[in-house]
Symmetry: C2
Subunit: 502 residues, 2 copies
């Protein structure tokens, strides 16, 4: 079934795409999703490359408990308000037969202290770091965890906002504020490298306003990407936590001057939300478009035949002529932190004879496979194959002996073109305004809006209330300029980025 077009109903388009491309689906548990194999394969490629970046920058993985004692959340005052509210609470540890047809919670098995399913792990991790840190020699600790977390969201959407989601959370401990701060910025850059060079997403990097900051952080950095409906998606965050968690969990160290000091912290994370960002950045009315840098399948080969003879002929041609060419393809991503990353070409030959070529074309377009190759009996005779680029739909017939050369060029071209398109969409749809009327109009039109703001939480909330526009970030590359707040007219020194957001 054809997708609703993006223009007609962006939200319906998204939901249908996620389902029809077999990326994810809702489950029997409210707000919890099932990530289907094809969606999970994309997630695994995201994981693999991000993980390599974390390791390259000196981090190690570890694993901390799923549950957090309720009392831990009271220890960091701001953190309570921000995080402990909408959470899954474990109160009992046993079930029993109810003597009728089912089972019931055993009232005898009530926990003395309730356990919260982690919404994020700062508290349990800093409670652990206390054991690991005595002196400056134990620092820095550069640890990351891949895990599931739970936030009991009331309105959920697959990948974008779900009760349970998958993510990574880095938690580092440092001897100086300077070093921790540098780590925070470095990790924001790691994400930017990943978004740009693997996901082909060009976001706006910057700092969050106080109001939008992580609960317990002193600074929060983010990358805000523009979705095709003009809304912003916060794609990752990197927090400088100062000594807040060290204070809450009493984590001190003996510094080089032999004095006891509180440890400095950062945390940083990115989640399966990136899947939503990927879909809404690159998808079109035919379905998803996966950048080759993270595609589970780069090239799909669809054989076409009528008779058994033709089938055999096409099969031999694919195995003898096409596959060896594809196996020789070299596809490389240039990454700032990883250098040149060689991506082994993944191909799939779809020999399913229960499904028509048309059905297959449609399916691989939905799933966003970058290149499709079609081979029929006539192609075998001519020694040629038909190639179609998913991102721009351009078809070409190429001599099979030149196939490797073509794919060698085509995959980086797609990667590059997706990034360029994404960047130009964002740049084209970013406006600078100086009146509240223009401001509201621009938000209604789905723009990123650069505007002056007086720097107060009150004005920020007023603007949010009146326009649903929020400060996405204070972009890092804007220069100071004197101006007047778009809403109050009070003096301002810098434009900030407003948008409606997911």
């Amino acid at each position: 079934m054809a997708l609703t077009t993006r223009e007609k109903d962006f939200s319906a388009w998204y939901n249908e795409l996620v389902e029809q491309a077999e990326l994810a689906q809702s489950s029997a548990v409210r707000g919890c999703m099932v990530i289907r194999p094809y969606g999970y394969a994309i997630w695994e490629n995201m994981q693999k490359n991000l993980d390599a970046m974390f390791k390259k920058t000196g981090h190690q993985n570890a694993y901390f408990p799923l549950f957090i004692p309720k009392s831990f959340f009271s220890k960091e005052a701001k953190h309570v308000d921000g995080f402990a509210k909408e959470a899954a609470v474990v109160t009992h540890y046993r079930l029993r037969n109810d003597g009728k047809w089912g089972i019931e919670v055993d009232p005898e098995a009530k926990l003395e202290e309730e356990l919260i399913v982690r919404p994020t792990s700062e508290t349990i991790i800093w409670n652990t770091y206390k054991d690991w840190i005595q002196s400056y020699r134990d620092l820095p600790i550069l640890v990351n965890q891949w895990a599931n977390v739970v936030r009991w969201e009331m309105r959920t959407r697959l990948f974008l906002r779900s009760a349970e989601f998958l993510w990574q959370e880095g938690h580092t401990a440092h001897a100086t504020a300077q070093e921790a701060f540098e780590e925070t910025v470095k990790m924001r850059k790691v994400y930017q490298d990943f978004f740009k060079n693997f996901l082909a997403i060009s976001g706006v990097a910057g700092e969050k306003s106080e109001n939008e900051r992580f609960a317990g952080a002193e600074n929060t950095y983010t990358i805000e990407a523009m979705m095709q409906d003009g809304k912003a998606l916060q794609s990752c965050t990197s927090h400088y936590l100062g000594q807040n968690f060290a204070k809450a969990f009493d984590v001190t160290f003996i510094n080089k001057d032999n004095k006891s000091e509180l440890v400095y912290a950062t945390s940083w994370g990115a989640s399966t939300r990136m899947m939503g960002g990927l879909i809404m950045s690159h998808g079109d009315d035919k379905g998803l478009i996966v950048p080759p840098g993270i595609a589970p399948i780069h090239v799909v080969i669809v054989p076409i035949w009528k008779t058994d003879d033709e089938k055999a002929m096409v099969k031999t041609f694919i195995e003898k002529k096409i596959m060896p060419q594809l196996e020789a393809v070299n596809f490389t991503i240039q990454s700032e932190f990883l250098g040149d990353v060689t991506i082994p070409l993944q191909m799939k030959v779809d020999r399913d004879d229960q499904k028509s070529p048309g059905w297959k074309f449609n399916q691989y377009e939905l799933q966003g496979v970058p290149v499709r190759i079609t081979v029929g009996p006539r192609d075998v005779s001519n020694g040629g194959v038909e190639m179609v680029r998913r991102d721009n739909g351009v078809k070409q017939t190429v001599n099979v002996v030149d196939l490797q050369k073509h794919v060698d060029v085509m995959l980086p071209a797609i990667q590059h073109s997706l990034l360029e398109k994404n960047e130009s969409m964002r740049v084209k749809n970013t406006v600078t305004v100086d009146s509240y009327e223009e401001f509201t109009k621009a938000l209604d039109e789905g723009k990123f809006v650069m505007a002056h703001w007086d720097g107060t939480v009150e004005t920020e909330e007023l603007i949010k209330e009146e326009t649903k526009g929020t400060i996405r970030c204070i972009p890092q590359d804007t220069t100071e300029e004197l101006g007047k707040c778009i809403r109050t007219g009070a003096p301002s020194r810098k434009r900030v980025l407003f948008a409606r957001a997911y």
Copy 2:
């Protein structure tokens, strides 16, 4: 601090090793562990190779919800008794400020139906497969999930029995009983390949007795490894589930004869318990011994110096003469399912000048790094280095130009020797007995015991009560022979494997 010896107190040895080698530690949450970076790095290598085997045998990864509605557990009658008892139960979804110093569970936010934190995922997965399966063309489904699960164990031990643990669980769906059964056996073989060729653990493969079977399974296959105290550790399981879960969740398909039929199922899993098995299989009184096939560090280089000149000289020697040799090392594991797997050599140079060489030797012995190389100023002058094999403690001085050749040979030799030692320990400590007296005595001596059993659950439970010995498995490679049950004297056709177990 030196470890308690295995002979003196095996259990204390284990606990101390896990802590001192920095593999894992207890957390603030009862029964939940923290897996520390070095322990997690070993787990990641286990994951990587097992995952490659699963993919090689046609499986894909996916992800299913952490929570399972309580009512799902009532649907498969045997499964209820086996799994829904000691579980973490989520009853509320919100906390609130208690108006004093902390937070409390909001009584208004009670779930209509309680959610169970998954102890295993058959129920939620089969509820999902119902949507995926209409006809035989949708089968087989070959899916695996890497996840955390929770079982509220009363007596917990790091890696061996914890409330939360990490594992993988494969869940496959098939059109015929035969195909599902073959999958069950194949996955048991995959595990055996992994244990033998990567972990250097030689277990006994076989089938579980009815009493020890997975709740809801028709057949359960396992590999039982012998720990150095003579106890058995169930290292993995592979279950043929028949149509039990399809029936419970009403999962039918239209078969080739156009008739509706219930789907056939398997599930199979291995967990962080393997970490415990690894430790107790190969460790010695100095600490862990990690087989090179899954070692996070293969070779550690400890430089020794007194003066700054010496330090610089040793550093240059390491970088110019040693590291290039090690980078050229070829280490390959032969795997039945993966073929030849080339393992990139991981080396670490420990330049920490706050710690003495002696401290470092001790630490890397504790952590079981397969090869240690020591380089001092005299070695630089002589052009030689000292190598020590962790598994047998043998030291040798080799010319640095021959280093690659030596390591090329040494890593497979260690891998091979660990497997051989493990196998011979098990074989040597496996006895065949024909009287109950010998039987009990052998169990007391920490043996694996092959004995006749009359095939009834009653006798099995009686033996367990009297001796703490359980049927670990009915080994696949034993032949039928007539005999009498060790306990009742009733006729028996096959010896089974008894042992005390973790």
